[in-house]
């Protein structure tokens, strides 16, 4: 395990560039391998704790992770450099793909391929949701909130920010009362 400060800005930048470009769909599995096993930036326990925080906080999990790790080794500038490393490569690729889509997107063959990819993409997202939902079986009462937000967003098209601001306090209150022992009761 290396000590703080030994990981330079350029190592952080290229490290996260590599992580970003090696991961399709699930970048996180690659991130763990690269950060813990290959580079030894964090121990396994450190990674798990940090990952828990990054998953829980809003925003892209892997972007959160890059900020935390960058900040840990090189402060604010390290956080910026790591985040840029994560985003620059994919940014260039997606703009190239976006330009190709703008030029050739109308072709029937491209439309057909994208329909197939979209169906798989939907499956990948749903599977992630199902996997996450398995954890809720321990706290079945909270499933009401999953269902509520699903209905509000998919069927009623309510603005997400409003829905979150409305539901989160209630959901935390219920969580506190039923599952965490209440500090208010």
């Amino acid at each position: 395990m290396e000590r703080q400060g030994e990981i330079t800005h350029s190592e952080l930048f290229w490290g996260f560039t590599q992580i970003a470009l090696s991961g399709f769909g699930g970048v996180m599995a690659w991130a763990r391998r690269a950060i813990v096993e290959k580079r030894g930036w964090l121990s396994s326990e450190e990674f798990t704790t940090l990952f828990g925080l990054c998953q829980f906080m809003p925003g892209p999990n892997i972007a959160n992770l890059s900020v935390c790790i960058g900040a840990r080794f090189q402060g604010a500038s390290g956080a910026v450099v790591s985040l840029l490393g994560l985003l620059c490569g994919p940014f260039v690729i997606i703009i190239a793909l976006g330009a190709l889509y703008g030029r050739f997107g109308e072709l029937p063959a491209i439309q057909a391929m994208l329909r197939g990819i979209a169906a798989v993409a939907a499956g990948l997202i749903l599977a992630m949701g199902v996997r996450m939902a398995a954890d809720l079986l321990k706290r079945p009462f909270l499933m009401i909130f999953s269902a509520a937000i699903l209905a509000a967003v998919v069927f009623l098209h309510w603005p997400l920010v409003m829905v979150m601001v409305g539901l989160a306090p209630v959901s935390m209150w219920v969580a506190a009362r039923r599952y965490c022992g209440s500090p208010w009761a």
Partner: protein, 173 residues
């Protein structure tokens, strides 16, 4: 300039409620881009999601592509910055505070209370993309098969995406 400001404001606000990652705010991005602002139609939105899933890197890259489609390079830069900036700032300042909360009941309550919302959002994103523009029975079948394969195997998603492209080309979807 108006459209860039609009992207910055809307995506920036989403960044702060994207519990469960950028994938969780797809329904809201859909609402903004298709329903509210008419920046694109349903089919284009679904295609852009498909392209972003086939691109390596964080899921937030969908914001970049939407921004690009709406307002070119400045749109892409604005959308990416807005999607990643506020949440990154938040975690930067929250990191140390969170470590102090370690093992407290408050932390447990926040985590337990937020998780069902994150799960609901990810499932909602799946629904939005499944519904897509011109979803057929073939597409539903492919989506269902993908869910089953992902839950029961450890295949790299890239193979599934490739298979989806081929099946689409073959006219199955």
């Amino acid at each position: 300039m108006g459209i860039i400001l609009e992207i910055m404001l809307q995506f920036g606000m989403l960044s702060l409620v994207a519990f469960g990652g950028a994938g969780a705010v797809l329904p809201e991005l859909h609402r903004l881009a298709v329903v509210t602002h008419h920046w694109m139609n349903d089919a284009t939105f679904t295609h852009l999601v498909a392209i972003s899933q086939a691109t390596p890197g964080p899921n937030a890259i969908i914001a970049t592509l939407l921004g690009w489609h709406v307002a070119g390079l400045s749109g892409a830069l604005a959308a990416t910055t807005a999607m990643c900036g506020p949440s990154s700032l938040l975690i930067y300042f929250f990191m140390r505070f969170w470590e102090k909360l370690h093992g407290t009941r408050w932390r447990l309550i926040i985590q337990t209370g937020i998780s069902p919302l994150a799960i609901g959002l990810v499932l909602a994103s799946g629904c939005i993309v499944t519904r897509g523009a011109d979803a057929s029975w073939g597409a539903y079948g492919l989506t269902a098969a993908t869910v089953l394969i992902v839950l029961n195997s450890r295949w790299n998603p890239l193979w599934l995406i490739g298979a989806g492209a081929l099946l689409g080309l073959a006219g199955v979807v």
